[in-house]
């Protein structure tokens, strides 16, 4: 397994990624982790140990809601869903993130040709 080309998540980005993942439908924790990994082309590695506290935190804030249900292969799992507040939060955070990354891109300058 080639882990050397995977990046750990930047501090504070996990919440945004969870919200974004849940925007396309309800999912359980493990599914969220998998989806993030898959959507990033396996580049982003979600630390499972910090995923659940993060989910709990978002739930506490009312951005996502949770309920126990059955997974595709019939295992019990806790499914998460984006709330209206979570959706608004996602929009705001996405805008913020884009502005930030654009700013960082400006500071860093144009990407040098792949060498």
């Amino acid at each position: 397994m080639s882990t050397h080309n995977r990046s750990p998540l930047l501090q504070g980005t996990l919440d945004l990624l969870i919200l974004r993942t849940l925007a396309s439908g309800r999912a359980h924790g493990q599914g969220v982790a998998r989806a993030i990994q898959a959507a990033s082309g396996d580049r982003l590695l979600v630390d499972h140990g910090s995923l659940y506290p993060a989910l709990q935190r978002l739930e506490d804030r009312g951005w996502i809601s949770a309920a126990w249900g059955s997974s595709a292969n019939n295992r019990r799992a806790r499914f998460y869903e984006l709330t209206a507040a979570g959706r608004r939060r996602l929009v705001a955070e996405t805008r913020e993130w884009r502005a930030l990354s654009r700013a960082i891109g400006l500071v860093l300058g144009p990407e040098p040709a792949a060498g």
Partner: protein
Amino acid sequence: MPGLLRFLKRRRRRDADFAAEIAAHLALETDRLVAEGLQPADAAWEARRRFGNVGLAQEDFHRRRAVGWLEALPRQLRHAARRLARAPVFTGAAALTLTLGIGAATAVFSLVDGVLLRPLPWSGPAQLVDLSHELSVQGVSRVPQSDATYLYYRRANHVFSGVGAYRTVDVNLGAETGRDAAGAERAEATRASASLFAVLGVAPLRGRVFRDDEDLPDAVPVVILSEGLWRDRYGADPGIVGRRVAIDGVPHEVVGVMPERFAFPEAASALWLPIGIDPARTAPAAFDYRAVARLLPGVTVAAAETDLRALLPRVPEAFPGRLTAPAIRATRMRPVVRPLRDVMVGGAGRALWIVLAAAAFLLLVACANVANLFLVRAEARQHEVAVRRALGAGRGWVVAEFLAEGLLVAVLGGALGVALAVSGLGALRLLGSAIAIPRLAGVGLDGPVLVVAAGVTVVTAVAMSVLPAFQAYGAEAGAVLARTDRRTTAGPGRHRVLRALVVVQVALALVLVTGAGLMARSFRSLRSVPPGFEPRDAYAFRVVLPTADFPTTASTVAFVTRALDAMRALPGVRSAGVVSKLPLEEEGRQDTAVFVADRPPAMGTMPVVHQVAYASPGYFAALGIPFLEGAAFEAPDVAVAPLEVVVTRAVARRYWGAAPATGRGLRLSPDGPVFTVVGVTGDIRGTGLDRAPDETVYLPLVIAPGPAAASGAAADARWAPRELAFVVRSTGGDVIGSIERAIRDLAPGVPVYGARSMSDVVARSTARTSFTLALLEIAALAALAIGAVGLYGVASYMVSLRTREMAVRTALGAQPSALLRLVMAQTMSLAALGVALGLGAALGLTRFLRALVFDVSPTDPATLVGAALLMTLVGAMASWVPARRAAAAHPASALRGDW
């Protein structure tokens, strides 16, 4: 609100649920890894490896879920207790201060609650009202009801669901058949209409209440006993109903027992007799009855009054008699409806509210003082708090820490305070009826009082610890840490709160001192009023001569003469006499219109009403009442009923001014015989030391039928009162025991009661003033002490902060006296500000004392100045000690010191 909802939801999710979710995750991950081709055992291990530390995640969840401070509270309290135990002086001072404050507030509140706030013990007490009349006649301003007014109001009103009448009488409870005759005793009885029981709405414990037909005077004699009398005298006999008991020598059938709580009209009411009113034979102008009514739902006191005012003019028509329409107009008589509670509490209410205000002030002073102690402590801990903050302690943590300390100190103070209140109330109950506060028996530390005490404690704790906590936390951590020493002198702004609290303490203490000073002055002037008799060495007791044992006037007079002779023969007795009413007591009081013989009243005016009392000549000597003119009557003799009276100076002045009064004539009814004035006594303040002198007409003990006719005596009989007070002057010792024995030897069946020294009677008449004074004095002294300690503490603290500065000044050549002045000036400016504010507050507040003070203005300048001087003096003393310490600072030691 959404925050709270989320909070509650979060609380609901359990640790186990979170663990189950992690287990589910591991299972799902294992499934996927198996699908990717791993062996199940390897897949499970890999899933676990990828998850990382399961325990850490669960702990994180647990910490987030818990209400941090709530779970940390026991620990916080434990730590706070340890910190407080390490500072015993601080803890002791703070707890003791609060003990005083909370104790005073609790004790006084329980008084106010028991006497003023708690509902009366009868059903629907808010609807109960007292009915009386106000009138504008010289000598009387309020009369209750006559049988006629009661009957008419009861019949014709539109505002009450019921009206009951009653009057209190004292009766002799005779010995039971087959029992020792010494069992005779005197009891407080109430003649009550059958309707009274329905109005008050209390069911009997046993038997029944009166029936309406028993209101008539010739009904079969029946009696209702109080639970207390039933238990004490009749051993709670279950067969009491139907039994016969002798009352004033007449057998009465017991028909019922009223429960303890009924206690109407007062706690001492032992039994109830039928009222004995005959609608066919009324005395409309004899206001011998009191009436209680229950308002119909929705009727106000004012509406009831309006209704009765329309009814009064029609009473003469319905019940012809001496209460005539012109008399009602001439006296401007008008019905008055007052809530029963106000009537029962009477004048004690205002005194209690003022004492409660004083207690609240004391509590405020105590709180301010303890808050100051906490502030100083917070200052000292500022460095430590800053360090903790730098290490990540949140604001909540710091506040919780101070709150825990505050709570512990307050609970300690609160518990001690409640204990103090209990002992204080115990002492108060020992004083008992002497302080003339009604309903005192019901006062105690019960639910509502303890709730208030606990509330006061918690509010106190929060008030005095949150401010310092924010003060400690609010300081910029970096700045505090950078200030690694206390080399700098504190800036003027830094202790603003500290100073403000000291000023408040001084101001509040001054208000209390002023109040206590006013009460002290007024008490002194009250006690310096000459009562008009010599209470020292005078003793009195009352007897009632039952008709059964003394059927004729001759036998009562013979008994009185024999009793007086026997008493005079006793060693240690100087003189003895007998009278129907003692000064400064209400028992036996009679008021009668007086007509001056040489001055017939103008048409349409009412004669002046005066007190009358029957007296033997020895009475004046025994009580030490001086004669200004003439002398007393001859010794009572049933053969002679002299038409003579003795009047007090106030009566003589009213009618004859400075001219001699002896030889003038008075009538007690417009067409009655003329009584000649044979003597004039000095002024007697028999209603109250703070009242105008009594206008009393003394009649001889045996009188001719004229004035007696109204009392029902046969026209040809001599008449003498049967309810009498014996008064004895001793040569110096207490002779009560021997004179009571002398009476008992003469007539074993006559109950002797109410024995007291006349000094006690005088003290009792000023008891409420002295009680208020004592409580205000205690509050003022405590406030003064706490204020002084507060001033001292703050001055000491300021000095300790400036020790280095002082040392530098000394090194630079400052004189110790200059330093002393410097520190004193700083503290005294605070004291002066407090005194100024306090004087302003006192000027505004002491007017509430107006009803309590006597012969002194509520804004008496001498008292205000005195209180201000006292406060300033105490402030000076409190700042002197720390100032001396500052001035004595040795330059070398201070500069060398490890600061």
